[in-house]
């Protein structure tokens, strides 16, 4: 099993799926000849040509719609939207078309489209390049929404998503493309539903996805130094949220801290809280707490940006308070 970068895991999935099926094609801004802003399609333009690795004009809604149209007749398009902030421009095609076509056609036609888009807060990119829009897609009927936090899932989920008959939104993260992790040498298809326990523990359950999973892991290290054993759950899928895995963890720990990179109001933390309440209430010894971004457009200044975001220390503090330490 080799250790590879997250971006390379995404690239490998593209390559294998394009090799497997001539109707798989990729499109997006700068993904072809320039090689992809995050290198996720590096080398594929030379290998598969410009009909299958398409550099698009800066027209997010319409190139996404071209992907939708092609998917309706058997193609398997992978649309990259360079930044999730720009995906707002494509929400008509994603939310009004891709997510609804199967239903409003009475099941006559599906839309096996994959939309990949990195988001989250990287470093001082300002309010319009720091979007966390998972709530928007996770709140839409007819979509699957996954958030691979590790190279193995970035690889395996993209491969599964390409072959899935439903529209799948894969939310990646700008700050983790250079994360390294083990990916099986043989072909691997990750499930598009189901959370994973990424660190076992007995005192508290730390719940997160994408970047917050990495903050939770760092917090678990710090908590261990204080003798607190934290279990870390990476949700992986935001639609549906895997209540069963949460319940199994809470049956051990009985306490939960939710960390999300988005704001609290109507954010993913609210939905996770609802799942804990509905599915895990009788396992809980205390109300779950949440550590989220502040309710502000992301500032440019480094110190302000840091203050606006969760981090391991904030998770540790919230956990200590919850446990009465």
């Amino acid at each position: 099993m080799a250790e590879i970068f997250y971006w390379d895991a995404v690239r490998r999935a593209h390559d294998e799926e394009m090799d497997n099926d001539p109707l798989v094609f990729a499109m997006g801004e700068d993904i072809g000849l320039p090689g992809g802003t995050y290198k996720a399609t590096q080398g594929l333009f030379d290998k598969y040509g410009e009909e299958r690795v398409m550099d698009t004009p800066i027209s997010e809604n319409s190139y996404t719609g071209i992907g939708v149209g092609a998917s309706m007749i058997g193609c398997r398009p992978i649309v990259e939207i360079m930044s999730v902030n720009f995906a707002l421009l494509a929400t008509d095609q994603i939310i009004n078309a891709a997510a609804k076509i199967r239903y409003m056609s009475g099941g006559q036609v599906g839309c096996p489209l994959v939309v990949r888009s990195p988001g989250g807060v990287a470093h001082q990119l300002g309010a319009q390049h720091s979007g966390r829009l998972e709530k928007l897609f996770a709140g839409t009927s007819g979509l699957r929404v996954v958030t691979p936090a590790f190279p193995v899932d970035a690889y395996g989920m993209l491969k599964t998503a390409v072959r899935c008959d439903d529209p799948v939104v894969i939310l990646e993260h700008e700050a983790i493309y250079n994360l390294k992790g083990e990916v099986p040498d043989e072909e691997y298809f990750a499930p598009l539903e189901g959370a994973r326990v990424v660190r076992e523990g007995t005192d508290v359950t730390l719940v997160g996805y994408l970047m917050s999973t990495h903050w939770n892991l760092a917090a678990a290290d710090k908590l261990a130094e204080q003798g607190i054993s934290a279990e870390v759950i990476d949700l992986r899928s935001l639609k549906p949220i895997d209540g069963a895995t949460l319940r199994a963890s809470l049956a051990k720990t009985h306490k939960a801290v939710i960390c999300t990179e988005d704001e609290a109001p109507v954010g993913m933390s609210a939905e996770i809280m609802a799942v804990l309440n509905e599915e895990c209430f009788f396992e809980l010894d205390a109300p779950p707490v949440r550590v989220t971004a502040e309710d502000v457009p992301m500032p440019y200044n480094h110190e302000l940006e840091k203050a606006a975001l969760p981090d391991a220390d904030k998770i540790v503090t919230a956990t200590q308070k919850l446990l009465g330490h």
Binding site: N61, G69, S71, G106, K159, C164
Partner: protein, 335 residues
């Protein structure tokens, strides 16, 4: 075109007109819910263009004024009416309604209620056909109002850039809902906007079906021969209001409506066929009665007597039935 074909074409148009008028009645009786946008006055557009395409083979897509396009593509009128009634036997199983008629078997890829949404979908259908090495083309019908959406510009740009086999048909009925072209768009000739993207384009009378068929034949040949997209603007008129909640008055003069009623595409075509000796006036009246009877005796009873969808199937069709992607157990995964 053979006389028999001309007669059949007129019969199809008359049927579509009576179908739509009967929809209006059913709407007033509240048998049809939601929004209802009818087509009378514009028949020469759908029939003229699609007569020159390969219906059932080429992909067709349009906006919310979609019943007649579906019928010309081969959709069963009983199923289209049942869809308007929201029944399980409807073309979209009662999940779509008037604005979302789909008949994928006949490659009618849907009506969409977001103005401008079908432009990129059509280009995507064309891209898919091209990737498959097929000689199919995609035909996108939309009104002039849709041309003020960003998707018009974005899609025409990409369709021309990538030489996609797509025919854009602009049914320019002069009104975007209740706002006239003069009051919404500084460039009144829509085909000139397409020309700004270096696209082949033409503008013709959309009330005269022979003119439409001539222009469509040229446009379809152009696209099918791999020369790239084509934009055809048909000058037409909506005899009714935008939807059932709009009388079509208020923002248009009686004089204007009267002038266009005199150019009703069905009666223009009838008069020509009578002149050519293809039919007599009596033949037309018989044709008209047959159309009304067909709608009253077969189409409406089918819709009325069909079952409602079962409520237990509420969540059917949200996602595919195949759970393998949820589980990561992809059939045939691996090479």
């Amino acid at each position: 075109m053979e006389a028999a074909d001309r007669k059949r074409l007129l019969q199809e148009m008359v049927f579509a007109r009576r179908f739509e008028e009967r929809c209006a009645e059913a709407y007033h009786h509240r048998d049809i819910g939601g929004f209802l946008h009818l087509y009378p006055g514009q028949e020469a557009c759908a029939f003229g263009v699609l007569e020159k395409a390969r219906v059932g083979h080429d992909y067709v897509i349009t906006g919310y004024r979609d019943h007649v396009h579906a019928l010309k593509c081969g959709a069963d009128p009983k199923e289209v009416m049942a869809e308007l009634y929201g029944k399980e036997t409807g073309s979209s199983r009662g999940r779509g309604g008037s604005m979302h008629i789909f008949d994928v078997q006949n490659h009618f890829m849907g009506g969409y209620a977001l103005v401008g949404e079908p432009f990129p979908l059509a280009a995507g259908l064309a891209k898919g056909a091209k990737m498959k090495g097929s000689d199919q083309i995609a035909i996108c019908f939309l009104g002039d109002g849709a041309n003020n959406q960003g998707t018009f510009h974005e899609t025409l740009n990409m369709a021309q850039l990538w030489e996609l086999p797509v025919l854009f048909v602009c049914e320019n009925n002069l009104y975007a809902i209740g706002t006239s072209l003069e009051r919404s768009t500084p460039m009144h000739d829509q085909y000139k906007r397409a020309e700004a993207y270096a696209m082949e384009a033409a503008q013709v009378d959309g009330q005269d079906i022979d003119t439409v068929m001539d222009a469509a034949a040229k446009a379809v040949d152009f696209v099918r021969s791999g020369k790239g997209p084509y934009f055809l603007e048909l000058m037409t008129y909506r005899l009714r209001g935008h939807s059932m909640s709009d009388s079509g008055r208020g923002y248009r003069s009686e004089e204007e409506i009267k002038r266009w009623m005199e150019r009703d595409p069905i009666y223009l075509f009838r008069d020509r066929l009578v002149e050519e000796g293809v039919i007599t006036a009596d033949d037309f009246d018989r044709m008209d009665k047959e159309a009304r009877d067909h709608v009253d005796d077969e189409v409406i009873p089918f819709a009325e007597n069909s079952p409602e969808p079962d409520v237990k199937d509420l969540t059917k069709y949200v996602l595919s039935d195949d759970d393998s992607c949820a589980m990561g157990q992809i059939a045939g995964g691996g090479k």
